[in-house]
């Protein structure tokens, strides 16, 4: 055995244990990353699923014309001023006749959601014959009741429902007069101070308009810029300067774009605050670098032989680009655009700067209506003190993530489907 072999054999044990340690370190790192994904998602899903359903309580509603102050259910004025909450209050008193005293009564009335009256009004408008009848109806419960009902027996101690109201809710539950139903208002309402009435629809619509503005501006400009840089730009300082700018803008913190939007679009150009148009403009500037970079990559991947073939047939450079390069590069560009849009959809900070943090109840009707967007809605709800907003926030996050996952899946499918190997 040679000297080398001897030496090598001596060192082997230590070296292999160091190899093992290194590998274990690597596995730990990967496991940590995967664990973070799992924890993040289970945390949000476990917190959020309960917000997709909400609690109703069953009450005998007496549509008493006197209590309502309505004698003609077809008169819109009477319908509008009538006191529907009184019906619910009466029904609650009926159900719990033993409750006496002003404070206890007030606690009792708070079992029902403050928005429940509006629903009764809508029912009466739809069906005037209700007046004067007695109906067994499901009434939306307050969020404190909702949380209490959804909690386990042990967890209930810590919930916010007032001590005095607990036996009532438990009585309702025992008699089968509580029910958990699909939370349709979550997908049709705007923001609200009352968690049980709050929904994401206004924010989703706001996000939609913002994304439309962003897409309409960013995609054509991004593609045009990429075409110019790849096909027409001369190699000079100006072109280099554009490239440096694009690369740096891709790494500028998003909040800086918000400052730009505030100073230029709102204060200088005098555009209104809180509107999707300005949000879209800011997000356009923010996503442009991403779109330009990916569009350039897909233009680059079109082989030069195709360009030469077109030029050889006597096409002009512009015709070559329009007829051959762009159609061939389009799938890649679309993929890049979708990824850029997904980035923009999740963006919050710059929109805070341009005032899209308003409390929006109404569903916006266009890009010039005051609105908020999904991530900002999440931010607003996350700041709210009520416990029910935690579930709402998580549910809104699930909606946002569902959109993002759909967009990214679309991008992956598009790439797989249309990918061409030259």
């Amino acid at each position: 055995m040679s000297k080398t072999t001897e030496q090598v054999r001596k060192s082997l044990k230590a070296r292999y244990s160091s190899e093992k340690r290194f590998r274990a370190f690597g596995i730990t790192a990967v496991a940590f990353g995967l664990l973070a994904v799992v924890v993040l998602f289970t945390d949000i899903i476990s917190k959020g699923t309960s917000a997709f359903v909400e609690t109703y309580i069953q009450l005998e509603i007496n549509w008493d014309p006197e209590e309502l102050g309505i004698d003609d259910p077809t008169d819109p004025d009477q319908i509008n001023v009538a006191d529907y909450d009184a019906l619910i209050k009466a029904a609650l008193r009926e159900r719990f006749p033993e409750v006496e005293g002003r404070l206890d009564r007030r606690a009792l009335y708070q079992l029902a959601s403050s928005g429940a009256g509006f629903k009764l009004r809508d029912q009466l408008v739809a069906n005037p014959d209700l007046l004067g009848t007695i109906q067994t109806q499901w009434i939306l419960a307050d969020d404190d009741v909702d949380i209490f009902i959804k909690a386990d027996a042990e967890e209930r101690q810590s919930k916010r429902l007032p001590e005095v109201a607990r036996p009532w809710v438990e009585a309702l539950e025992r008699d089968g007069q509580t029910d958990i139903q699909w939370n349709a208002s979550f997908f049709s309402h705007g923001d609200s101070r009352e968690p049980e009435q709050a929904g994401v629809w206004a924010a989703v619509t706001g996000s939609f308009f913002t994304m439309i503005v962003t897409l309409v501006l960013a995609f054509p400009i991004g593609v045009a810029a990429a075409v110019y840089l790849e096909e027409f730009a001369p190699k000079n300082r100006f072109t280099d300067f554009i490239e440096v700018n694009i690369n740096n803008l891709a790494a500028v913190p998003s909040i800086i774009f918000g400052l730009l939007g505030l100073a230029i679009f709102i204060n200088l150009f005098g555009l209104p605050r809180s509107v999707p148009l300005v949000g879209g403009l800011v997000l356009t500037l923010m996503t442009l670098p991403t779109i330009i970079i990916s569009a350039r990559a897909s233009i680059k991947s079109v082989p030069p032989s195709i360009r030469e073939a077109a030029l050889g047939m006597g096409a002009s450079r512009m015709q070559m680009v329009m007829h051959h390069v762009l159609p061939l590069a389009m799938p890649g560009m679309l993929t890049g655009a979708i990824i850029g849009m997904a980035q923009a959809l999740g963006e919050t900070a710059p929109l805070l700067m341009i005032g899209m943090v308003a409390f929006i109840v109404d569903i916006p009707g266009g890009p010039l209506d005051a609105s908020t967007v999904l991530p900002v809605q999440i931010y607003l709800w996350a700041d709210s003190p009520e416990a029910s907003f935690v579930a709402l926030t998580s549910a809104a996050i699930m909606v946002l993530l569902a959109f993002l996952i759909t967009m990214n899946t679309l991008a992956v499918l598009l790439r797989k489907r249309l990918e061409r190997r030259w």
Binding site: G33, A224, P253, I264, L288, T348
Partner: protein
């Protein structure tokens, strides 16, 4: 007519002139024996007519919209009776706002002096006239341009070259948007910062240890001026970024190494995309996770060990930010590690190195510039990250290095100072722009260096 409607009208006009240009190109080619005797295809003549219709009108509209506000305002304010002529700039703006609000219907005319009501009526009249004039000028320019373009349709006109050069200019215009954006960022933060530094000295801002930007309601209140020493913010930003990098660098780097060098192809095929999910999660979600799950968990754990932990500890924000940055580092590291040529690895393995020795002594040193560049980019991202810290870090500007205490950061303060109602001229608002300037300078510097390093590294192996 509103500008939006005008643009829609313009599109319709453009289409009309396209059609007429098309017709005319056939008409002028008929005596010659068909369109093949034209210099360009009919579509180019048609496009040229449409371009002549659309572009000048758009340019006019843009110019008009930029200057009309100023013109109306100057005329209006000059025509005011001397009784209500404003004395200084603040009054000027106040009065102008009042007039506007009355004219816009936001303010009840009963609450303001009669002169203001008169001025508001005048403003409304001027605005209406302005709209009218703008619409007339716009439409006539569009039609004139279109007719001119249409009349130029001649068989020997080099329509294709002209249309293509217009397109080329438009492409170039799109590319310069990047420069304009940078310029816009620089100008917007720079100008406001200069105004800030007129009120607060740069030395105090850069080296002051006290940050409390509240401006007193009354002038004689204690601490009336507010303090704008940004050092606690810089320190807080660095502390949180440091914690984030302590998580992200080892985990990101080691997982990239493991997945690139050790993991079986199948493992890599599913583990990599799952890790990349972390990159696609919006930051507001991380903020929520940090504030509602991680921070209470750390607090509970710390208290069970007998430590005092702030409910908005730097550790929670930093830890979650680190998780956010893991995929960023790991994908950049993966790129540079796989770019190290196989020959290097073979050379080392053939000498009898184990795999980890090869990685530690050959692959990583070779990939080091690229890895450093990636880390610098990640640092810049950590410094500029906003939502996590807004939601999970504190507001109080503590100067501390203890990760269990609450600290605040540059981005948190920008958001706090600018969200909600604001006067645009107060030192408080302007301070946000000064912080923005600092943030921009630092991240820009990091990006430039990092991109240079990465580029150089790529060239080395290409």
């Amino acid at each position: 007519m509103q500008a939006g409607n005008l643009v829609l009208l313009l599109i319709a006009l453009g289409a009309v002139f396209y059609f007429f240009g098309w017709r005319r190109s056939y008409a002028v080619s008929a005596p010659l024996g068909g369109v093949r005797h034209l210099h360009s295809l009919p579509g180019y003549y048609a496009s040229l007519a449409a371009v002549w219709c659309v572009l000048p009108a758009l340019a006019l509209l843009g110019l008009w919209l930029i200057i009309d506000d100023t013109v109306i305002r100057t005329n209006l304010m000059a025509s005011l009776p001397s009784a209500i002529q404003p004395a200084n700039e603040v009054d000027y703006n106040l009065l102008l706002n009042q007039i506007r609000n009355v004219a816009g219907g936001a303010l009840n005319p009963a609450f303001v002096p009669a002169e203001v009501v008169a001025a508001a009526e005048q403003l409304a009249a001027m605005q209406a006239r302005n709209q009218q004039m703008m619409s007339i000028a716009f439409v006539s320019i569009a039609v004139l341009g279109g007719v001119w373009g249409w009349s130029r349709v001649q068989p020997r006109l080099r329509a294709r070259q002209q249309v293509e050069s217009v397109m080329k200019w438009m492409l170039m215009g799109s590319a310069t948007v990047a420069i304009l954006t940078t310029l816009g960022i620089v100008l917007s933060v720079l100008f406001e910062s200069i105004r800030f530094f007129q009120k607060v000295s740069p030395m105090e801002f850069l080296f002051g240890l006290q940050w409390s930007p509240q401006i007193a309601l009354r002038a004689d209140q204690v601490g009336a001026t507010g303090a704008f020493g940004a050092v606690p913010l810089f320190a807080g930003t660095l502390l949180i970024s440091f914690i984030a990098m302590c998580v992200a660098v080892p985990v990101g780097l080691m997982s990239a190494i493991y997945l690139a060098e050790y993991a079986h192809r199948n493992v890599r095929a599913w583990a990599k995309p799952i890790l990349e999910i972390l990159a696609g999660v919006p930051t507001v979600v991380y903020g929520f996770f940090a504030a509602l799950t991680v921070a209470p968990a750390i607090r509970g754990f710390g208290e069970s060990m007998g430590l005092t932990v702030a409910s908005e500890s730097a550790l929670a924000a930093g830890l979650v930010m680190g998780i956010m940055i893991i995929p960023f580092i790991s994908s950049l590291a993966d790129d540079v590690i796989t770019a190290v040529p196989r020959a290097m690895r073979d050379g080392s393995l053939a000498l009898g190195a184990t795999q980890s020795e090869t990685i530690k002594r050959v692959v990583i040193p070779a990939a080091l510039p690229g890895i450093m560049g990636g880390i610098l980019l990640a640092v810049s991202r950590a410094i500029g990250e906003t939502m996590i810290v807004v939601m999970a870090a504190g507001l109080a500007a503590n100067l501390t290095a203890n990760p269990l205490e609450a600290v605040t950061t540059i981005t948190v303060q920008i958001v706090t100072l600018l969200v909600g109602d604001q006067e645009f001229d107060s030192a408080k608002t302007l301070a946000a722009f000064a912080l923005g300037l600092m943030l921009f300078i630092v991240t820009l510097g990091l990006n430039v260096i990092a991109l240079k390093i990465v580029k150089k590294y790529r060239e080395q192996y290409e």
